[in-house]
Amino acid sequence: MNVQDKIKQQIASDKIVLYMKGTPQFPQCGFSAKSVELLKASGAEFSTVDVLADPDIRQGIKEYSNWPTIPQLYINGEFVGGCDILTELFQKGELQRMVAKTK
């Protein structure tokens, strides 16, 4: 399976998928850590993909979404944004609404 197919499969594997550096328990970057916190504060149940564990995924996800940075959040297969967008959506209460709709 090529990288892009693998990514499609990962994104489809759960309603909420966060591509991040490290894991929720041990995030390796402040932006990833903050994104995890925002999702938890929104009441989300989510899966994560650690891009540091796979260089092909790390590069491939940037091409998939045409987005040059990590973290990246996907809800119901749709790219939602990176840490700044999550922060803004959370402040507006929008992230909480998006999470609630997945349940």
Binding site: F31, N66, W67, P68, T69, F79, V80, G81, G82, C83, D84, I85, E88, L89
Partner: protein, 82 residues
């Protein structure tokens, strides 16, 4: 090493007419971009426009960039609130 001023200039070159304020320490940067061309675009599209203006720099030299994008109208509304 890349400076906040470089980031400001690159964004303004890529998005003519945009007003940019940028800060940072050479590795981590933050930028606020106010641009008429953001009207009608969602946040993802707005950020993608800024990333495109930064091009290859975004892949290599800019380790992290906190981005805030606003239309002129949003900017005025925000200024009125604070």
């Amino acid at each position: 090493m890349i400076q906040p001023e470089d980031i400001k200039q690159m964004i303004e070159r890529g998005l003519p007419g945009a007003h940019v304020t940028a800060g940072g320490d050479g590795r981590h940067f933050e930028a606020v971009v106010v641009f008429e061309g953001f009207v009608g675009k969602n946040m993802v599209q707005q950020h993608q426009m800024v990333y495109r203006a930064l091009g290859d720099k975004m892949q290599a030299e800019i380790h992290a960039l906190s981005l805030r994008t606003l239309t002129p109208e949003e900017y005025r509304a925000q200024a009125a609130n604070t």
